[in-house]
Subunit: 227 residues, 6 copies
Amino acid sequence: MRILVVNPNSTGSMTAKIAAAARRVARPDTQIVATNPADSPPSIQGFLDAALCVPGLLDEVRRARDYDAVVVACFDDTGVDALRCVVDVPVIGIGEAAYHAAAMVSTKFSVVTTLSRSVAGLEANLLRYGLDRRCGRVRASDVPVLKLEEGDETTIDRIRREIEAAITEDGAEAIVLGCAGMTDLMSRLSEEFQVPVIDGVTCGVTMAEALVASGLKTSKKRTYSLA
Amino acid sequence: MRILVVNPNSTGSMTAKIAAAARRVARPDTQIVATNPADSPPSIQGFLDAALCVPGLLDEVRRARDYDAVVVACFDDTGVDALRCVVDVPVIGIGEAAYHAAAMVSTKFSVVTTLSRSVAGLEANLLRYGLDRRCGRVRASDVPVLKLEEGDETTIDRIRREIEAAITEDGAEAIVLGCAGMTDLMSRLSEEFQVPVIDGVTCGVTMAEALVASGLKTSKKRTYSLA
Amino acid sequence: MRILVVNPNSTGSMTAKIAAAARRVARPDTQIVATNPADSPPSIQGFLDAALCVPGLLDEVRRARDYDAVVVACFDDTGVDALRCVVDVPVIGIGEAAYHAAAMVSTKFSVVTTLSRSVAGLEANLLRYGLDRRCGRVRASDVPVLKLEEGDETTIDRIRREIEAAITEDGAEAIVLGCAGMTDLMSRLSEEFQVPVIDGVTCGVTMAEALVASGLKTSKKRTYSLA
Amino acid sequence: MRILVVNPNSTGSMTAKIAAAARRVARPDTQIVATNPADSPPSIQGFLDAALCVPGLLDEVRRARDYDAVVVACFDDTGVDALRCVVDVPVIGIGEAAYHAAAMVSTKFSVVTTLSRSVAGLEANLLRYGLDRRCGRVRASDVPVLKLEEGDETTIDRIRREIEAAITEDGAEAIVLGCAGMTDLMSRLSEEFQVPVIDGVTCGVTMAEALVASGLKTSKKRTYSLA
Amino acid sequence: MRILVVNPNSTGSMTAKIAAAARRVARPDTQIVATNPADSPPSIQGFLDAALCVPGLLDEVRRARDYDAVVVACFDDTGVDALRCVVDVPVIGIGEAAYHAAAMVSTKFSVVTTLSRSVAGLEANLLRYGLDRRCGRVRASDVPVLKLEEGDETTIDRIRREIEAAITEDGAEAIVLGCAGMTDLMSRLSEEFQVPVIDGVTCGVTMAEALVASGLKTSKKRTYSLA
Amino acid sequence: MRILVVNPNSTGSMTAKIAAAARRVARPDTQIVATNPADSPPSIQGFLDAALCVPGLLDEVRRARDYDAVVVACFDDTGVDALRCVVDVPVIGIGEAAYHAAAMVSTKFSVVTTLSRSVAGLEANLLRYGLDRRCGRVRASDVPVLKLEEGDETTIDRIRREIEAAITEDGAEAIVLGCAGMTDLMSRLSEEFQVPVIDGVTCGVTMAEALVASGLKTSKKRTYSLA
């Protein structure tokens, strides 16, 4: 099958990292097509960026051909509802994919994201999905998205500190990494902390494969009916 | 990979139907091992059956070897929490798998199950998973589980009637079939009603594959720590 | 004071109607500046339109000068979060304004909106605001937004039918009109049904005046901090 | 318009302070009539005081003439439901007014009130209004209501300490001052902490004006029907 | 032990009926002291009556001596919180007693009360107690409280109609009778409908006995601390 | 009356302690019959033990004769739903009994239980009962169940530490002891901490007496209908 993975920001190096992560877990018979709009904000941090990147995201998807599912590789799942109105294949946000996966391997998870300005949006998503009930807390590491691209250890230490606190203070049994740019940290931090540390890009791809293999498409009844 | 699919009731014909459904959607490189305890209730209808089948279910899993995930093929997800305490691979109930899938292809789903005595258990699960917020209503069709094995049209008509009501009255955009014995109705009813009609066996297998491909295991922190 | 009322769709006749409604209730010393983007969808019906109109909405606000508050005259409150990131004066969506007002004059209200594709978005807003607990039901009248501009009686009859049902079946003690285009129906339907029938444009303006008079501005701590 | 502001306790100096705050923000064309019962508890701290002051509060309102709205100037909104049964103009509690205002200028607020015995009542109100979902925490400063009348700095420092904790620990983006006696601290503490610090008397008056200007009255359908 | 049962309205015949019901279920060693204020509303229907009866209710309790528990025999549990501030023995409202009992003999109950103006108050209580999650619906029979004193069959038929609807439409497995004046209908309607039909006076007395026998008193930490 | 108290684990010394506690509070005319299965896990700690003890628990009850109510003396209320399907007298878990009692003597309680692996099960129960809204937090003392049988002071000190924290940090006004093995600590710790410290065995017996005296039986409509 063919999965279209759209990074809604315009930072090509992130798209490349996302594509690599996607390919690492995809089925042998899955083709990953990774893309990003050219004229989007360089990173999606908070409600303003999330709103501004949607038209470009929609254009990328409209331009694409012959895909069986779309993965929106931005942890705040921006544009997912709008996309579901224009295509009928499954559309999955990496945030929701990670939350659903976390809910099946633990009784409670916490999210470690980038800036505090992103927390309210993630909390709103969790509430709407119903999965706030499974979430201990959404924690900001105060690491800006693009800082993750540099990948130095002090940056990762800030993430480690929040994971530690989530396990100790929130009763978290699993950790969800709250940014597509953290995708390369999943296995490493899982091993370090001995709890599932869950990346949305990884789960977005495997969940998309699961929905396609199950023969499911986006419901066109009411909310997502084609305009 | 190898997925152990356990039907917790003792009706072999249901296990065979479940195995066939599982194989229909599994990856080419996935091996499905389907089994059921010999001394379990013949069907799981309500809290009493659900409690009685768990020791046999645990035995089946303890006897098995070399599987990468366990799917509990009973829609009320009985024994899933207990199993997560004894293995470290992912354990998925077909109820939760179907709910998570439904939540990614619609804004609201309804469940159509067998007897009214099963409704409260499903509602309790949905509440605990958080997905009650996405569920319009859990509807009983008054079709006993084993009646489904006969597969006559009057039986299916009762299910149709509830699907119709769910779409019209509950605002459901997708339907979740609330019994492993309904697994063969998924594609047929999806086509008839033009909304996703979702079967848990199907989603249990593909979601299990997704978790395994993502490298995830059951958290052993706190709740599911090995005794 | 000066209140900027932005209709995020591009239908000028709706903007004119909204401006008139706004002026009808504004304080004598309030100046209403009503505007709309030129290149937006002609009406906002569902998640796709809601996403597409936001960049134009942001541009309209950025272009404006010397206003004390912004009212977003679209009942699904699209773009309100994004706008709060770019200005520090109060920004109010007409949906939330109407819900807050309804919550102060009744114990339970229902919403009567346009198409069924808009329902899920309004439900998501109510949930996030917390006011779903006060709402009986969000009802679609199946009247498209632009049909409201024609204002014929058969159209209004469909709205009447839902109001009637809301009072009888939902236990609603007040009705919220779920579209900016219904603004001219408020007093007329209030009289007919002898319950408060509440329009968001009206409440958006008076609530904006209330916040400004109270000396309140949008918090710049965390979520809405200036980028 | 004429707004009747009733302080349900019998402390005249508080009524004077409340009246001054009300007049500071009222429209030029609004007349504020402030009053209090003679035989009420001197302050409303907890469920007992709240119950005892209601008959006097009702008498004050029944005695009054020609007002367009009633503001109950006690932060636990005592008697508001009872009053809505006897008048048809809008009746607003300063607690609810402040919560609704806070919900429109922030994603999350915390409340700083007087004694710990008042916390449960405020939590019960927030739950009923639905706005508990927007509230980080209700914090007691351990300052008795009448101590506020003295206005010394050590008293205010205790309030400051809770505001500080609310911003740091609760993730509060706005603060609601949980007592009518704190009305004079709003602008001063807003400036100090650089977040909206919201007073209920202020918002009660401006929200009352908003409802009146919107042409809204208390619904007389069911709950508040005239006996 | 001695249990003080206070009917907060001033209708002596209701007090007598309540006393008889209380004595019917009380332990042989329990003494029931039933009383009512002289100057209260004749029945408690809605928020206004509920507020007005509290001072008299408090006086009755303050006047009494040597009781081990207080039962407030009004289904909307008016004054219970205030009373808990003035005594340290257990104080139970008959509404909460009935809800707690219903929650232990069924998975879901519905309430059948008197007038529609009482519904919102009961819903608010259920929400605060947490037991709204167990309640299908609060239904008004449109029978005024004092009409129950006459006890004719047409009156009871209206209650029957709502019980029938609760079982069929709400999925109720038990019925809670929402008025002290219905106390004599419990066993009769239980037999007729073959589900538990639960009266609050009955449960108020037996639950009070249970708390006293358990050695429990009202917590004096924070909310109910003695003023 | 006769109350059957079943300890679902196989530790006879715990059954003896439970029986003693039950007799201490039972009515003079109540006969307590205490029992435990022979082949159950020695203690119930977490989901696995909870599932494994149910068949033995059901057998014990089926073997018994002439009882008026059943109390399941395991704090996670395991098997209560299954038992309600096989008997029609009231069946009460000591967890739910303690929560309902706590809800009538305080506005907020916290639970102090044994191991952290038991916390998620208790939280799931609270959620389903609706009483999570009244619970500050479920706290693990890290004392294994059987360690309680030794009763040394260091063990009790660990429980004391959590009670202290619950009062200070959670705002708890009452404490629920989250294990049948803590039954002998109730009066002692209540005195020490001057808040209600509530034991489930105690409340299970008195609540069972209350239901029986009220003439209530388990509803046989839908969920618990006899198979």
